[in-house]
Amino acid sequence: MRAYFSRRYRLSASHRLYSDAFSDERNVEVYGKCSNPHGHGHNYTVEVTVAGQVDPVTGMVCNMVELDECVQREIIDLFGHTNLNLYPGFHGLVPTTEAFCVMVYEMLSKVFDKAELVRVRIEETNNNSFEYPAGKPMAVRRVTDFRAV
């Protein structure tokens, strides 16, 4: 049976929303206080969902410890307590949480091979969150059938 397993992780980082394509005035119009010159920070919650057949012996979609280690190494250690604007991957891009969410999904999907990564959801504050890919997780299915453990 196919089930979905999710873990939530926390990381704190700063960013500034400012596009070089806009004038200073236009940046303020578009991004408001998020464009303040010296940036600001958030306690992000990164929710990672993987899916797959529940292993008949272990009862798991994947080993949680392996997911934790992967997210810690690839995402938390890289972005935690940093300025997102300075990350080379965001060079020339605005590190909105939409963009951050897509980046985390793309980075994890390249390296985590113990189950199918189906969703990254990031809460920037308690009041806003972003998900990628959009749509029902059950509809976002790939051909690959990774098995647990």
Binding site: M1, R2, A3, Y4, F5, S6, R7, R8, Y9, T49, V54, V57, T58, G59, M60, V61, N63, M64, V65, P137, M138, V149
Partner: protein, 136 residues
């Protein structure tokens, strides 16, 4: 079509152990969860049903009925119990969060009248949860 979710809580103990494995193998895969004296969680269960809104009542399902079904089919057997020992589904199946979600789905699905069970979500703790949509 609209989704409606009812939340419930239960507290239970469990442990993870595969008899065919050595104690070292169990400890390696399951870590602290392999302590055979068990440990406990406050689980949060979210039951989501989907259906059309009844033109007279304005309901998808009657929440009182849904609450009673969850109470009778799940909470009565799961709350303040040891899942490995006291819940029949887990006599030969590890009570992982994934398997708990599937077991709860199987208990509830025949009793959701007038709507379709869409998702069972089980939080073992706020940062760890499993979803089951009834998929094979």
């Amino acid at each position: 079509m609209i989704l409606l979710t009812r939340r419930a809580e239960f507290s239970a103990s469990h442990y993870y152990w595969v008899d065919a494995w050595t104690p070292e193998e169990n400890a390696r895969l399951f870590g602290k969860c392999s302590n055979r004296n068990g440990h406990g969680h406050n689980y949060t269960l979210e039951v989501t049903v989907e259906g059309e809104i009844d033109t007279t009542s304005g309901f998808v399902v009657d929440l009182k009925v849904l609450k009673a079904v969850i109470e009778r089919e799940v909470l009565r057997d799961f709350d303040h119990r040891h899942l490995n020992i006291e819940v029949p589904e887990f006599k030969a199946l590890l009570p992982t969060t994934e398997n708990v979600a599937i077991a709860i789905w199987n208990r509830l699905a025949p009793h959701i009248l007038g709507a379709r069970l869409q998702r069972v979500r089980v939080y073992e703790m706020p940062d760890l949860f499993a979803d089951y949509y009834g998929e094979p």
